[in-house]
C-alpha cells in the first residue's frame, strides 16, 4: 500500500509511534524515519527505522536542513509529552516544555517538509491529537491546550495546501494502552473504563490503522478532519 513512499513519524519509540512505524512497514513502506530523545529507547525489532536523536524542546536551535536531508510523503506528528498538574500548581517550565514539544515543534517540522511536498505535489500530514483536546481534562491545561491547537492548524493548513494534493488531518486517540496511560494507577484506570462504552482501552495498533487509512488512497478526498478513535468515549 505504501510502496515507494517515505514516512517520518516523530516519537517512534513510544507505544503509538512504534505501532505506526510497524503498520507502515507491514504494508510495504520501506523508507521509514523517526525521531527519539534517546537512541537507547530504540527496541531491537526497530532496526528497519532510521532514527534521529533530538529533543523537540530545543527545535529552534536545530538545523533541520541537515538533520532531515530527505523527503517524505507521509509526515506523522506524533511526538508528545505531558507534564500534568492542577493549573494553580503548574509551573511555566511545565507549560513551556509541553507547548514546545507538542505544538511548536510541529510548526518547524511542517515548514521544513511541506515545502518539499508542495514541490512534489503530494503529501499526507497526520497529527496525533487527543480526545482530551475536545473534552478537557483536569490537570492537563498545558497538554489539552497543545492538542486543541492542532485542530486549528489542521483546518487552516489543509485549506492552504489543498490545491497541491496535500492532505492534513489528525487522529484523536481516546485512552490507549500506552506508555502514557501506563502511568495511571488502577483506580484511575477503572474510572476511565467505566466511561468508555466499549469497556476497554484502545490498542496502539487501532491508532496506527487510522493513521494508515488517512495516508492511503482510500482517504484521498479527506482533508482538514479529525478522526476520533476512542471506543465511543466521546462522540464529537
Amino acid at each position: 500500500m505504501f510502496k515507494d513512499k517515505g514516512l517520518l513519524v516523530t516519537g517512534g519509540t513510544g507505544s503509538i509511534g512504534s505501532s505506526i512505524c510497524k503498520h507502515f512497514n507491514n504494508n510495504g513502506c520501506k523508507e521509514i524515519y523517526s525521531t527519539t530523545t534517546d537512541l537507547n529507547k530504540v527496541k531491537s525489532d526497530q532496526d528497519y527505522i532510521k532514527f534521529k536523536e533530538l529533543n523537540f524542546n530545543n527545535i529552534e536551535n536545530l538545523n533541520l536542513d541537515e538533520l532531515f536531508d530527505f523527503e517524505v510523503d507521509y509526515l506523522v506528528l506524533n511526538a508528545g509529552l505531558n507534564k500534568d498538574n492542577i493549573f494553580l500548581r503548574m509551573s511555566s517550565d511545565d507549560w513551556n516544555s509541553v507547548i514546545n514539544v507538542n505544538l511548536n515543534s510541529s510548526f518547524h517540522l511542517l515548514k521544513h517538509f511541506t515545502k518539499k511536498m508542495v514541490k512534489k505535489r503530494f503529501g499526507r500530514v497526520v497529527f496525533i491529537s487527543s480526545v482530551v483536546a475536545y473534552t478537557g481534562n483536569p490537570g492537563q491545561v498545558n497538554y489539552t491546550a497543545s492538542k486543541a491547537a492542532i485542530s486549528g492548524i489542521v483546518k487552516s493548513l489543509a485549506l492552504e495546501l489543498s490545491t497541491r494534493n496535500i492532505t492534513v488531518n489528525s487522529v484523536a486517540p481516546g485512552f490507549i494502552q500506552s506508555n502514557m496511560t501506563d502511568k495511571l494507577n488502577d483506580d484511575q484506570k477503572n474510572t476511565i473504563l467505566e466511561r468508555i462504552p466499549m469497556k476497554k482501552l484502545g490498542d496502539s495498533s487501532d491508532i496506527a490503522k487510522a493513521v494508515g487509512f488517512l495516508c492511503s488512497e482510500n482517504a484521498n478526498y479527506i482533508t482538514g478532519q479529525t478522526l476520533h478513535v476512542n471506543g465511543g468515549l466521546a462522540l464529537i
Binding site: K115, V118, K119, E160, L161, T163, R164
Partner: protein, 78 residues
C-alpha cells in the same frame, strides 16, 4: 536581455505555463500571470535552485514581478 532575466523568464514560463510573449518585466506573478500564493513560493524555490542561493522569507515576499526577481538575483546569486 540579460542572462539572468532569460533564466528567470524560463522558470516563470515553465512554472506558470504562460506564454513568454505575455511576460513583461513589470508583470506581477499573482495579478498579471495567474499565479496563486503557493506558486510564488515555488517560483522562489526554483530561483534558489537555478541560481544556487538562498532567498530568505523577508526578501522572497518582496519578489512580486520578474524585475524584482532579476534585481534580487543580480546582486545576491552566486
Amino acid at each position: 536581455m540579460s542572462d539572468i532575466e532569460e533564466r528567470v523568464k524560463k522558470i516563470v514560463v515553465e512554472h506558470l505555463g504562460v506564454e513568454e510573449a505575455k511576460i513583461q518585466s513589470d508583470s506581477k506573478f499573482i495579478d498579471d500571470l495567474g499565479a496563486d500564493s503557493l506558486d510564488t513560493v515555488e517560483l522562489v524555490m526554483a530561483f534558489e535552485e537555478e541560481f544556487g542561493c538562498e532567498i530568505p522569507d523577508d526578501a522572497a515576499e518582496k519578489i512580486v514581478t520578474l524585475k524584482d526577481a532579476v534585481t534580487y538575483l543580480s546582486t545576491n546569486s552566486n
